[in-house]
């Protein structure tokens, strides 16, 4: 038997303290579609980035055609015939299709003469190979998403790619567009290309994939022929058994409804018809896949992208926050997902960060008193267990978990009624994670209503009093606190099980 097209052995990769890959084996044969599956954060992206040369593995080997291929860099990967098609095509919007293809495919000096007719002939030929009837003169900006993907695939073919990685190519496609893309993928397979196909849509796996590899917590839990698997088996492989991890228990039953959403939505963010009650002292987890609309819902609630449909009722009053400032005044608090960029201001000291949203509360009259600010900061440093710097250390010098606590401190200082947390423990080490969990539970115990967006299944199940599941921009299920990872994942994937009914 000939050597596989691509063979990965014992790949490991860590980021800071977090181990993203713990010795993954993976192989791809010529002329097969190999699906790669796993929850958010299971290590799929890291694996892909190693294959395309964007990351270097800490350990393990990569072999192409049976020959070891040192640590890859993007250029080396390209030369070995590896191409990646991302969910969001990475094309130059202001250039024509032909120019985009030429940029990637033509070699030679910057001052060479451009043979425009040849450039266009080549583009036309490549587009035909992927079944796209597109005029190569058209600017990429005018193309639809699936058309841009086809241009990307044409580009991969033009570069002689034999290993094509497709990262959730159908996530934003309609059913018809999806079917067409499947045709192109099958065509690639027939031509002997190896395709690594990442998707969250289970039905695609059964119609398209030859083999399936499931990743979980940075490890491969097995590679199987797709024909041997059933959907429930796949889901079980993805979530595994629940890891017994102590989560702080609820201290008292939730109180009355603080926040009522009725058919809430916003057209351009894809969120629609979200109806939900959030109670005082309750932690409502919000599970779902990346892109299901959870962050978009949070942004609507916080006035970043105001709603254009439905109602928000806060403490019995109908409100419509149109800016974060209004939302803060109404008693909402939002710790955003992208902490390193916008949760705290890295240049500003801890004290300034923590008081930023509540100057009026902390300093009546508008006069900032450093002594009072220092006391306030020292109090919360002690209270939240922030380590790594005093009140005047720049927030950027703290670890991720401690930065997250500073972001929390800022919102607690505003005396909010509703706290929205978006992936509060992403990229945070285990110890700080447990502290944040205890803190959030304590806040709920003090009567705060918490909306906890998390892609970490054990976390969302362990922390939540109820679990809302979003899919395709709306809330599709609300599960009780004893939900199992299988039922949550099934709901997130749009697969009804008895428990979710």
């Amino acid at each position: 038997m000939s050597a596989p097209l691509l063979e990965l052995r014992r790949l490991t990769k860590s980021f800071g303290g977090a181990r993203a890959l713990r010795g993954v084996d993976f192989d791809l044969r010529a002329g097969e579609v190999h699906a790669l599956l796993g929850e958010n954060g299971a290590g799929k992206s890291t694996l892909i980035r190693i294959i395309t040369g964007a990351h270097r593995p800490d350990g393990g080997t990569v072999a192409v055609d049976g020959r070891p291929a040192g640590p890859l860099d993007p250029r080396g990967a390209h030369q070995l015939g590896i191409a990646c098609i991302y969910q969001q095509p990475a094309l130059f919007p202001d250039l024509s299709i032909a120019e985009n293809l030429a940029l990637r495919l033509e070699t030679g000096g910057s001052l060479r003469r451009v043979d425009w007719p040849a450039r266009h002939r080549r583009a036309t030929a490549l587009l035909e190979r992927v079944g796209a009837r597109l005029d190569p003169h058209r600017e990429v900006r005018d193309l639809s998403m699936p058309e841009q993907q086809l241009v990307e695939i044409a580009c991969a073919l033009g570069a002689g790619a034999r290993i094509v990685v497709m990262d959730e190519p159908t996530a934003a496609l309609t059913q018809a567009e999806q079917t067409r893309l499947h045709g192109v993928v099958r065509e690639l397979r027939a031509q002997g290309t190896g395709v690594i196909y990442i998707t969250h849509r289970l039905e695609e796996i059964f119609v398209l994939a030859d083999r399936v590899t499931v990743l979980r917590d940075g490890e491969s839990v097995g590679t199987r022929p797709a024909a041997d698997l059933t959907e429930p088996e796949l889901i079980r492989l993805m979530v595994g058994r629940e890891v017994a991890q102590p989560y702080p228990p609820a201290e008292r039953p939730p109180g009355g409804a603080v926040l009522r959403l009725r058919r809430l939505g916003r057209r351009d963010s894809g969120v629609h018809d979200v109806s939900l009650d959030l109670h005082a002292g309750e932690i409502l987890g919000l599970a779902g896949l990346v892109g299901a609309g959870r962050t978009e819902l949070a942004r609507i609630l916080f006035g970043l992208t105001p709603a254009d449909a439905g109602t928000i009722e806060l403490l019995g009053r109908t409100v419509r926050p149109r800016s974060p400032r209004e939302a803060v005044e109404m008693g909402l608090a939002y710790v955003p997902e992208d902490r390193r960029r916008h949760g705290v201001i890295l240049d500003l000291p801890l004290a300034h960060n923590a008081s930023l949203a509540s100057h009026r509360r902390l300093f009546p009259g508008g006069w900032l008193r450093p002594a009072a600010e220092r006391r306030f900061t020292e109090d919360f440093i002690r209270d939240l267990g922030i380590r790594g710097g005093g009140p005047f250390a720049p927030a950027g010098s703290l670890s991720g978990g401690n930065q997250q606590k500073v972001a929390l401190a800022r919102w607690l200082a505003t005396g909010p009624r509703v706290l929205i947390l978006d992936e509060p423990t992403q990229g945070v080490d285990i110890g700080a994670k447990a502290e944040i969990h205890r803190l959030v539970r304590r806040l709920a115990g003090e009567g705060l209503a918490v909306l906890l967006i998390s892609s970490d299944l054990p976390e969302v199940i362990g922390m939540s009093d109820r679990i809302g599941v979003m899919r395709g921009g709306t809330l599709t299920a609300v599960l009780p606190r004893d939900a199992t990872p299988d039922t949550v994942m099934a709901a997130a994937l749009g697969r009804a099980t008895e428990a979710a009914r």
Binding site: F302, R325, H342, L346, L356, A357, F363, G366, T414
Partner: protein, 307 residues
């Protein structure tokens, strides 16, 4: 936070320069010329404070020189019309604030890049003034110069006023919520917005305040001479920005203090007279000032932060 403060480096450079002058050219410290120098630079200090606020907010204003000229000429004409000084001052202040607010509106309201907006207003005000006045000087009525005081008392008054206002601004920038918001928006506008701050309002405020300060500076300049030169304020914006940058305010926004701006201005303003006193040819002045600016930015870079 115990890092070597930028202000200290500038302060040391200034001290070294003054020390050299004390040893080699004690004539520099003679009373009247030094007092004149300080009085001439007093208006620049106010413009530099405005520029610092705008730069901390991660914007830039290169129209202050032209604003300065427009306000100077307008104030001169009103005074020549016989308006009382207080009324002239009030009108000048309103005019300067309006000009600043216009910049703010275009940048914060329409989201246009500040370098382009203020380039446009810089050219428009300057050329408009030239077309309107045809380069004519404005003769001021008697008694306006030094506000009727003798020259020395007038100079001291100006210096005291500028330093007093500077101190107020320095305190306000650290003790008012608005000052804190300026730094927050300049560091990370999106994060500031998520914290409930309105970045557009803060940016608008910075430009408006800069306009008001430029108007005050123009008034301080007008009362120093018997005439108003319609070309006054040419290059003033660059002088102010240079002082801000040398004073350790990061051009990328969010960092720096007004105290540094004062030191930066003193350092740059001392170069020219120092050259004269040290018998170095005067045409080295710009080169040396340029070298100081480069050094300041390079020093910021060497501290591992983008200047």
């Amino acid at each position: 936070m115990k890092a070597w403060p930028r202000e200290l480096s500038v302060g040391l450079a200034l001290a070294a320069l003054l020390g050299a002058l004390a040893v080699f050219a004690p004539g520099f410290f003679a009373g009247p010329p030094l007092l004149s120098l300080a009085a001439r630079e007093a208006p620049v200090l106010l413009v530099a404070c405005g520029a610092a606020m705008v730069i901390v907010c991660r914007q830039i204003d290169i129209s202050s020189g032209s604003q300065f000229a427009v306000v100077s000429v307008a104030a001169g004409l009103l005074a020549a019309e016989g308006w009382p000084p207080a009324a002239v001052a009030a009108a000048a202040l309103v005019l300067g604030t309006t000009l600043g607010a216009l910049n703010g509106l275009l940048v914060a309201g329409l989201g246009l890049p500040s370098i382009v907006v203020t380039l446009a207003t810089m050219v428009t005000w300057r050329e408009g003034l030239r077309w309107w006045r045809q380069g004519a000087f404005v003769n001021l009525p008697d008694g306006l110069q030094w506000l009727g005081l003798d020259q020395t008392a007038g100079q001291w008054t100006l210096i005291a006023a500028a330093l007093g206002l500077f101190t107020l601004l320095a305190i306000a920038s650290r003790h008012l919520a608005a000052g804190r918001h300026l730094y927050a928006v300049g560091s990370d506008a999106e994060a500031a917005r998520l914290a409930g701050i309105r970045p557009a309002a803060v940016t608008f405020g910075a430009f408006t305040l800069a306009g008001a300060l430029t108007a005050l500076a123009a008034l301080m300049n007008v009362i120093q001479s018997p005439q108003v030169d319609p070309k006054s304020g040419t290059g003033l914006e660059l002088k102010a920005i240079a002082a801000v940058v040398v004073g350790g305010v990061a051009i990328a926004g969010g960092r720096g203090r007004l105290a540094g701006v004062l030191l930066g201005l003193l350092l740059l303003a001392t170069v020219a007279p120092a050259l004269t006193h040290l018998r170095i040819e005067a045409h080295w002045e710009k080169a040396i000032q340029g070298a100081i600016i480069l050094l300041a930015v390079a020093a910021e870079r060497a501290r591992g932060r983008p200047a």
